[in-house]
Symmetry: C2
Subunit: 402 residues, 2 copies
């Protein structure tokens, strides 16, 4: 019987994948450098190794029938090698490779005519003298179309073209607000470069948007696709803060966003759950902001609110099982993140106050240390309307201290 | 921060308690003799020891802020000692003690005027000559009222009084159909005694019932009580087979059963989730069949169907947190057990067929070995009506082989 799952990464996403995989009877191993990681606590085995450790990845593959990831910042070369050896890796390493380089991801969207905000590559400071050459990014597998090259400009040149504000982004290892810097005017450029370094950067034009939306969407091994309802996401310091499900938009826009998510899915390979983050502008245009090749913060509400959670859905998808219903079993849900407020040991204060409120679920991820902006847990509120759920979620979050 | 939970027992109930406790951020240890037990796989630590092992129980208490059980067949003497030392043990060891001796449980119900089927103690074969003395059951703690004595009769004498059919039951360690024997006529007595032994037995009158019902009910540390909807349970060979939620009975009967469950709760001590199993006769009388001092098979449906699952509810109750909403978030749910069909390694066949059906959840408990009548997992179906859910549950169970 093939029932062993290996997950690269042992954070909260791996933990919630672990719950669902164990619920269905799978044997689960995770790989993470932090001993007794959030996911390691709730599965059969943790291998201690960094996300990109090639030997440890191979070791994990050896004890797994199905290999997956909870993070995209991993060693795709090793994964591609494992696929060649016949290991079932999902999502596909090629997909992860396109997505983990956020600039390549943008090139990919452009190539497939998927609407996205204008962007441009930034010339590295040390090559300022040698303009207009391809970015010196070597790619091992030449079988994959190389999307990593671009005409490069200085930030000032880009700003002239796009007009301020612009956002400077790191191509690699950027998530949860780290790796982004909003440049409102010329004087911010220096601070931005101090924060993000001068290598592997690109710039996006900041488009005025009405709402940020997200569609969590899954594909099984047979190619069937199932999309969850469109949700609204509210960010704070570039970190996902609140998710409103379903988004308060017209059914026409709901459909438009889901169609766009499906268009993205047609272009990327592999089974599993993906999240497509989008912008909705005031003209009703929907643009793709970013793709995540994994379960996503914008889908945490599905645990309580949907017939199949995004985590069970991912486990079904990567193990060759059919997808489950993505419908909501309640009218409305709002999720709010619990981010750390100080540095120190995790100690949840006033949990009992929050749990006095009906239809409120609190998730704490089992991290040893809290620090400002670290995701320590989340709260999901179910209610008859998103307005009611939203009000309760805000109230609940304020009560809790961590 | 007090956040360490110890659970005595590492079976599927401990596993599902573990999921919820970990979800809420607790550190969880379980105690079970089977290495890598169903619960041990999903929590921080397993101590290897039998349910009644006093030293191991004390070791578990040492690393726990809150101690609880997933099974009643345990060493209550050790637990009482730990309570005296200030350890928070819930449910109360006194309650477990009353319930784990099924004859004492009956005496307890009688004493508190809680309707229950007539019963009588069976005289042990070796004391046939010395009639009418108390059963020689020594009880260490004389502080607790001794309910263990009774006027004893032979099975034949009891049968004459009650008229056949009667059911012969073991007082201790009986669950999931083991420890019960239906005596239809005099000739069955010999077979019954061969099966159950001749010690610590009692007899119940078999009452004709229309339905079997159950109420899962919880009490928090402040004494607040919350009851789940009344469900119908269908047994097969004395093992819980199907649970229909809510039971198809009048709202008057719903209320009657919940009132009865609350009456039972008033008499038993301690925080936690309890299950009150009941008979409904054709005259509309509701009688208590048995009490379980723990989460229960009849409450598994709450994972998908209720705002707070029975497992989260128990964790809230025993850690001093307030109880959550017991309401259903869907109109109907049916749970069907997956019992083993053969002896051997667990190998779930045709899971993919079952998962093609929408709104069907499959739970597999991670047991290494399957055998006939062993609980290997369960299926929960959510639907608009219990009739639809029931049909789907039967269909789903038939597809699966284990």
């Amino acid at each position: 019987m093939k029932n062993r799952i290996g997950i690269i990464g042992g954070g909260q996403l791996g933990r919630m994948l672990g719950f669902e995989a164990k619920k269905m009877g799978f044997i689960v191993a995770v790989m993470d450098a932090t001993p007794h990681s959030p996911a390691g606590q709730v599965v059969d085995l943790q291998l201690e190794g960094g996300y990109s450790d090639p030997e440890m990845t191979e070791e994990l593959a050896e004890i797994s029938d199905f290999l997956t990831v909870e993070i995209e910042h991993i060693n795709t070369e090793t994964l591609k090698k494992l696929v060649k050896q016949g290991i079932k890796v999902n999502p596909s390493p090629e997909t992860i490779e396109i997505i983990k380089d956020k600039f390549v991801q943008k090139q990919f969207l452009l190539k497939h005519k998927i609407p996205t905000a204008p962007y441009a590559a930034v010339i590295p400071s040390e090559t300022l003298g040698k303009r207009n050459r391809g970015i010196s990014n070597t790619r091992a597998d030449k079988g994959i179309e190389d999307l990593s090259t671009a005409l490069e400009m200085t930030i000032e040149e880009i700003a002239k073209k796009f007009t301020y504000p612009i956002i400077l982004k790191k191509r690699f290892d950027a998530f949860d607000g780290r790796g982004n810097y909003l440049i409102q005017k010329r004087i911010d450029i220096r601070k931005a470069l101090e924060k993000l370094g001068t290598e592997s950067l690109y710039v996006e034009k900041v488009l005025p948007f009405v709402k940020e939306l997200a569609v969590v969407i899954a594909r099984d091994m047979k190619g069937n696709i199932a999309a969850y309802p469109v949700v609204e996401t509210i960010h704070k310091n570039n970190i996902c803060h609140i998710v409103i499900a379903p988004a308060k938009i017209s059914s026409k826009l709901q459909k438009k966003a889901q169609t766009l998510a499906k268009k993205v899915m047609k272009q990327i390979k592999g089974a599993g759950v993906f999240a497509i983050e989008m912008f909705l502008d005031k003209k009703g245009n929907v643009l793709v902001n970013e793709i995540a090749p994994r379960v996503h913060n914008s889908g945490h509400y599905t645990i309580e609110a949907c017939y199949t959670s995004q985590f069970e859905q991912h486990i079904r998808a990567i193990t060759g099982l059919p997808l489950g219903s993505t419908a909501m079993k309640v009218p409305a849900a709002v999720m709010i993140n619990i981010l750390g407020e100080r540095k120190g040991e995790v100690d949840v204060k006033h949990l009992e106050k929050v749990l006095h409120m009906p239809q409120v679920s609190v998730h704490i991820y089992g991290k040893a240390e809290t620090k400002p902006e670290r995701k320590i847990g989340h709260i999901t509120v179910l209610d008859e309307t998103v307005e009611k759920a939203y009000k309760k979620a805000i109230k609940a979050r304020k009560m809790l201290h961590i």
